[in-house]
């Protein structure tokens, strides 16, 4: 469903991504890991066109992301995205956060949007919080609202960029639980994370990046078990205490 072919990207003279290729099939859960600055966030943002790229090709559900004339907003509306810092809209109530995209982009009626928004709010265990504002919620709650916001657009796939790394330890699990549930229901997911527990539990693919290159791209069991590149080994050793 998501095909990335020979992707390269530069910031000025600095090459962030070098010839990255991988693909995610319907129902796949792909975990992307690697040291800081290796280009994980950049890679995941190119998938829904939030970051432009200079070389290569990305095809999402038949649509070429980089092609001229692609209706990027329409594409993005079909892919949910969750950020490290939640990025809820602080001036809108939870309910309005959930319905803004549905109403403005999908042109749903307010009633329909609210109904669906609340269904997903319930799904992440926060029904009853819809009239609060983002800053009145804990980090874990905010991130779960962000997931509900993405889900309420009925996405065909979800992108996560370190969804738990800005959270206090107690809150990490409440978010991971929601993500595990999603994965088990068959949602297609690309997840940048250092939570190897999550990867072990639900990933079927793990991608390891360093310095803008994809060094490993293999099944979960292979990644955690079989021999692999020195760098990945180092990285795993450091990350799993």
């Amino acid at each position: 469903m998501i095909d990335i072919k020979n992707l390269s990207k530069w910031y000025g003279h600095f090459q962030v991504l070098t010839e990255c290729s991988t693909s995610v099939a319907r129902g796949d859960v792909m975990v992307i890991c690697g040291p800081s600055g290796s280009g994980k966030s950049t890679l995941i943002k190119t998938v829904n066109g939030l970051e432009p790229f200079q070389q290569g090709e990305i095809i999402v559900d038949g649509t070429s992301v980089g092609a001229k004339g692609t209706d990027l907003p329409a594409l993005r509306a079909r892919i949910g995205m969750v950020f490290q810092n939640f990025e809820l809209f602080p001036h809108l109530s939870v309910c309005d956060n959930l319905t803004l995209g549905q109403i403005k982009v999908l042109k749903r009626s307010r009633d329909e949007a609210v109904e669906r928004g609340l269904r997903y709010l319930d799904r992440v265990g926060l029904l009853g919080q819809q009239d609060k504002y983002p800053n009145q919620l804990s980090g874990g709650q905010q991130q779960r609202v962000a997931i509900a916001r993405a889900l309420s657009m009925d996405p065909i796939a979800m992108l996560f960029d370190e969804p738990t790394s800005a959270l206090d330890p107690e809150m990490i699990n409440e978010v991971l639980d929601v993500m595990v549930g999603l994965a088990q229901e068959g949602m297609t997911m690309m997840v940048v994370t250092h939570e190897m527990g999550f990867a072990r539990k639900v990933a079927n693919r793990v991608v390891f990046m360093d310095k803008g290159r994809i060094l490993e791209d293999c099944g979960k069991d292979e990644f955690f078990g079989a021999p692999r590149s020195e760098r990945a080994k180092d990285f795993l050793a450091r990350i799993i205490h």
Binding site: P73, R76, F89, G101, V105, Y133
Partner: protein, 250 residues
């Protein structure tokens, strides 16, 4: 000093034989408010527009050109004294029009008012634009990405997310620009608008009660200031993001 104080001057009839000097002052106040108010509308609209242009991504060539245009706009309207801008709009602009249009414009009864509003509006808009840009940039990109990721188009992202947030952030500097435009409207006396300062000056010319006239003007300006500050504080509280300290320490 041998100055003859006469505070009753404001109840005495002014030379036009219709109004008292006090009423002259009130009339001036109304022109001040009208000029500042209309100018403020222009300043906000143009300022938000130009400020937004300057945050467009530089990657697209059109973005680069709009940015450049926005910067040039700000440079021009910030770097020419307001007084000179008023002269340009009042004395120069009509002469540059085709002569029939110019002749029509020049006999508009409210030309000083129109010129004052336009110059105050544009002059202030450059300052507002700088604030708007800073406000949007302070949101540090994350909100824009999130809005785009939801599928909003760029204009929608600005309309529903970035601008509402940025305007909240820049409320205090906007408030002081709002005060400035009231004070700056006094410059319009140089193009003959009989606003508050000018009517105080007229009282002074006709009655020679210089210090009474200026004292009254000063008191009115200070009162205006207090009202605007309180209004802005009220607005700021009302628009404060729920769950932040700006809401007030309760």
């Amino acid at each position: 000093m041998n100055y003859h104080w006469n505070w009753r001057i404001f109840w005495e009839e002014s030379p036009d034989g219709v109004r008292t000097y006090g009423e002259t002052l009130i009339d001036g106040l109304q022109w001040t408010l009208a000029a500042a108010g209309c100018g403020w509308v222009i300043a906000l609209v143009v300022g938000v527009l130009v400020g937004t242009l300057r945050t467009l991504p530089q990657s697209a060539p059109i973005g680069r050109w709009l940015r450049l245009a926005g910067n040039a706009y700000i440079e021009v309207f910030r770097n020419i004294p307001l007084l000179v801008q008023m002269f340009l709009w009042y004395f120069v602009a009509p002469e540059l029009l085709p002569s029939s249009a110019g002749a029509w414009v020049k006999v508009l009864p409210n030309l000083p008012f129109v010129a004052a509003v336009v110059s105050l509006g544009f002059y202030t808009s450059a300052r507002v634009a700088v604030q708007v840009t800073a406000g949007i940039e302070s949101l540090a990109g994350g909100q824009l990405l999130a809005a785009l990721a939801v599928g909003l188009s760029r204009p929608q992202a600005y309309r529903y997310v970035l601008l509402p947030l940025a305007l909240r952030v820049i409320m205090p500097p906007l408030a002081s620009e709002g005060l400035n435009i009231i004070k700056n409207s006094a410059v319009a006396l140089t193009i003959g608008l009989v606003e508050l300062m000018n009517s105080a000056n007229a009282i002074q010319e006709f009655s020679f009660q210089t210090f009474e006239a200026f004292t009254a003007a000063t008191v009115i300006y200070v009162a205006l200031n207090i009202i605007v500050v309180m209004g802005m504080q009220w607005l700021e509280r009302r628009l404060a993001l729920p769950g932040t300290l700006a809401e007030g320490m309760r």
